[in-house]
Amino acid sequence: MLKPILLVEDNPNDLELTLIALSKSQLANQVIVVRDGAEALDYLHRRGDYAERVAGSPAVVLLDLKLPKVDGLEVLKEIRTTDGLKPVPVVMLTSSKEEQDLVRSYELGVNAYVVKPVDFTEFVRAISDLGIFWAVLNEPPPGSQRYVKPK
């Protein structure tokens, strides 16, 4: 079974736009949506509302930088310092390329840092490329399944 994509996004508009973009990229992966950092960590740790979910890490975490309660950088830090979560690819999605955020993200071991383009067509392309790269092209950590494009 394909690993899902974990989308962490609080803003309803961004959420809608990202989901539309992902659907346009025709990825077969399931997209799990969580609305803040705390919820993302619950999902990753399989606790709280997600205690009962099927084990396994997502193919990629698309992480918004600014989130209520626990922000994107804190989520990233937690992923990178938790055994079992460390190898999960994390792509930071953000409105800005503030240098401090960029530097901090790479310090914390982000796999990619993507500034959401204002132009929607470009946004769709960016999300689509990201999904394909991380969910399809990227060689996943040992033990995970490869995505096979459905016929």
Binding site: N11, L17, K66, P68, T94, S96, F120
Partner: protein, 753 residues
């Protein structure tokens, strides 16, 4: 053994060691008795017999009446009470047993009564009537005299007319003690000393001391033979009598030689005391011996005192005027200084004023390795070296010299433009100096005789060794090199004041810089937060507008009207949010900049006004407002209103699901602060994230759950902190939240908050 004995070399500096106040003898133109309180004669001058016919032996141990006669003693006795002081006091004119008349002066000093008898021709008392008119005339003329010089000239004329001496000069001592003849009145055949200088060594130190104590000296005949006191020691003290105040006191043989060298047989000098200092002398000379009566001497003393008083007031006025002028320049200099931010540049802007301030021709500011100069100054390297030397030698707050090369030998080549130097350190920590330079002022001093010709050697053996001061009083010109015009005491004092002002300015500047730095740090932080917010939060709605607009275009052919409707709604809301964000950001930034205008604020009124303002948002809601009695506080009402409105608006927002919503406002009064609580029974928040609550653009809830830009609580915190207060919050998730803030009772307008 070598028979040649060393030639005694006596120079006038030996005079400094001579105990001139205890000569053990008197001038013989009168006689002196010392008495016990019971008017018994303790000592008598050896010349007693010459004047009274009574041998000294017959006088010692006898009552005064036995010596001068009972009648004379009766006249004097009532005057010789305990109230006599050290200044000789005229106690009467008496006629001795032998029929001779004497003016008697009495004073009490050195544990004995000292009576001095001077022969007079009249039997009656001294007549001072002439003195009154004389003094009256002098006073009248003094008022018309403009300068100190003309006053002195007037005094010289008066004194000569009273004494009949051949020459009367008035001279003033300079800082080094040299005398300068500033006025003269003389008989035509006398040589003039006008304008000449008398070296300080002409009047030895202890003579100067004596001159300040006793105002008048008289030597009637330089060829006199002193009459010793018998017995030689004062029985009351066992030592030689202290004759400091005695009119007949015998003077130093050196002085008599000096007079003879000057061809002066009679001399009198009157001290000019100005502000307790020996300012100068009125000095009278006569080629022949000449007696001078008590009343004439008194007249001269009076003239001297009046002259001194006039000098004092004129000098005071001149000094005051001078200081006023210097101060005026100082103030305008300081006014020019406060403008720019670079201290050194500021100083260089007022260089012309600085020159005028110290009547200098060159000025330099040295700040570490930087040297800025103006006018005629030494080279930069020379100035640096000079400053190095100044820093090595502690000179206190101000260093000044009018003869730099004498204290700073390596500065010999600086004489031309830096013979005079005044320097002040203008930093308490660093090697920063302000220096003023004055050029060499070559002076020609006309000495009354060569002042360096002091050492007088006895010529060959067999020649009587005269204790000899210089023998020539012929004008002798000396050119003085390496000195500048002297620095005025007022200039030095005001330079100190100027330095204090400079240090004060520097300190003020440092404080301003610190405040500015704090202010800048704060605005920088805020600017960063601002730009961060703009790039994140303001960009999002724009992206959404573009995104949904693109989707709208894309779906134009689609049948899904509902979807298109939603896209349109999203666009509208994103646009509205963008607008609100801009407004909020602007208000937030304004809040950081505007100054607090604190006043007394009635919190009850303020909360009431907030509740009214929320009427629109609370319409249709069931809200139970529970407002406790609230005190007044000292705060900025506009800002505080905004903070309270934010808290109440939050409470209204987060209780949207409650019926009834309970919003409670309470206050606690503490010693140093007043605490306010806004509590609600709304959604609350997770205490885990309480530290983020008051940050800019921090949200603990999803946008669709509770609307807001994330600026409200940041505003509350900023407002309260600018009042030097604190904010905090407590909550039970899903049940209640309490937001609290404390305002200090005495706030300072803290701009660093």
């Amino acid at each position: 053994m070598n028979p040649v004995s060393p030639v005694p070399v006596i120079d006038l500096s030996n005079c400094d060691k001579e105990a001139i106040h205890t000569p053990g003898s008197i001038q013989p133109h009168g006689f002196l008795l010392t008495l016990s309180d019971s008017l018994e004669v303790l000592q008598a001058s050896a010349n007693l017999g010459d004047w009274t016919g009574l041998g000294v032996r017959d006088a010692i141990g006898h009552p005064l009446a036995d010596v001068i006669g009972a009648a004379a003693a009766r006249v004097l006795a009532p005057e010789l009470g305990a109230d006599l002081g050290p200044r000789p006091y005229y106690v009467g004119t008496v006629t001795a047993t032998n029929g001779r008349h004497f003016d008697v002066l009495a004073h009490r000093w050195d544990a004995v009564l000292i009576l001095e008898f001077e022969p007079v021709d009249r039997a009656g008392a001294a007549d001072f009537r002439q003195l009154y008119s004389l003094i009256g005339d002098f006073l009248r003329e003094v008022n018309d005299a403009g300068s100190i010089e003309s006053l002195a000239e007037l005094a010289a004329r008066q004194v000569r007319s009273v004494t009949g001496y051949g020459r009367v000069i008035v001279y003033k001592f300079d800082g080094d003690g040299h005398g300068h003849v500033m006025a003269e009145d003389k008989r035509e055949d006398y040589a003039s000393y006008m304008g000449q200088h008398f070296p300080a060594t002409d009047i030895p130190a202890q003579a100067r001391k004596l001159y300040t104590m006793s105002r008048l000296r008289l030597i009637q005949d330089a060829n006199y033979h002193p009459a010793p006191l018998v017995p030689a020691l004062n029985p009351a003290t066992g030592k030689s009598n202290d004759l400091s105040f005695a009119t007949l006191r015998s003077v130093s043989p050196v002085h008599l030689q000096y007079m003879r060298n000057m061809h002066t047989m009679a001399s009198m000098s009157v001290s000019l005391m100005v502000k307790g200092q020996l300012w100068g002398l009125i000095s009278c000379h006569n080629e022949d011996a000449r007696p001078l009566g008590f009343e004439q001497r008194t007249a001269c003393e009076q003239v001297g005192e009046i002259l001194a008083l006039c000098i004092e007031s004129r000098e005071d006025a001149a000094d005051l005027q001078f200081r006023l002028d210097v101060r005026r320049i100082m103030v305008s200099t300081l006014a020019g200084l406060t403008q720019g931010s670079d201290f050194i540049e500021n100083l260089s802007n007022v260089f012309p004023e600085l020159l005028r301030f110290a009547r200098a021709t060159g000025v330099a500011v040295v700040v570490d390795e930087r040297v800025l100069t103006y006018g005629d100054t030494p080279e930069q390297e020379d100035i640096q070296e000079l400053v190095d030397w100044l820093t090595r030698h502690d000179h206190g707050d101000v260093f000044h010299t009018d003869n730099l090369s004498s204290v700073y030998p390596q500065g010999g080549h600086l004489i031309r433009n830096a013979s005079g130097l005044m320097a002040v350190p203008i930093s308490r920590i660093h090697k920063h100096y302000l220096l003023w330079f004055r050029p060499e002022y070559v002076r020609t001093i006309e000495w009354a005789g060569n002042p360096h010709d002091k050492i007088v050697q006895a010529a060959a053996a067999g020649v009587t060794l005269n204790l000899s001061p210089r023998t020539s009083f012929a004008a002798w010109r000396e050119t003085i090199h390496g000195t500048s015009l002297p620095w005025h005491a007022g200039e030095i004092e005001l330079t100190l004041e100027f330095r204090t002002a400079l240090l004060g300015l520097a300190l003020e500047r440092a404080e301003q810089m610190a405040a500015l730095a704090g202010e800048l740090t704060r605005s920088n932080k805020e600017l960063e937060a601002f730009s961060y917010s703009v790039s994140h939060d303001l960009r999002a709605p724009l992206r959404h507008i573009v995104g949904f607009a693109d989707l709208l275009i894309e779906s134009s052919g689609s049948e899904d009207a509902q979807m298109r409707q939603r896209f349109l709604k999203n666009i509208k809301e994103a646009a509205r949010l963008a607008g609100k964000l801009v407004d909020d950001l602007l208000s937030f930034s304004q809040m950081g900049r505007a100054a607090l205008r604190p006043t007394t604020v009635d919190m009850k009124e303020l909360v009431g006004a907030c509740v009214d303002k929320l009427a629109l948002e609370t319409r249709g809601r069931n809200i139970d407002w529970d407002i406790a009695p609230l005190p007044t506080v000292w705060a900025d009402p506009t800002f505080l209103h905004l903070a309270m409105l934010n808290l109440l608006s939050n409470a209204v927002k987060f209780t949207a699901q409650r019926d009834p919503a309970v919003i409670r406002v309470t206050a606690e009064d503490h010693a140093h602060e007043t605490v306010f609580h806004v509590a609600d029974n709304g959604a609350g928040f997770n205490m885990e994230y309480v530290h983020k609550l008051f940050g800019v653009f921090q949200r603990l809830h999803r946008m669709e759950d509770f609307q807001g830009t994330g600026i409200g609580l940041a505003n509350v915190r900023r407002i309260v902190e600018r009042h030097n207060g604190r904010v905090w919050a407590n909550s039970t998730l899903g049940e209640s939240a309490t937001f609290s803030f404390a305002l200090p009772k005495q706030i300072t307008n803290n701009s660093n908050a």
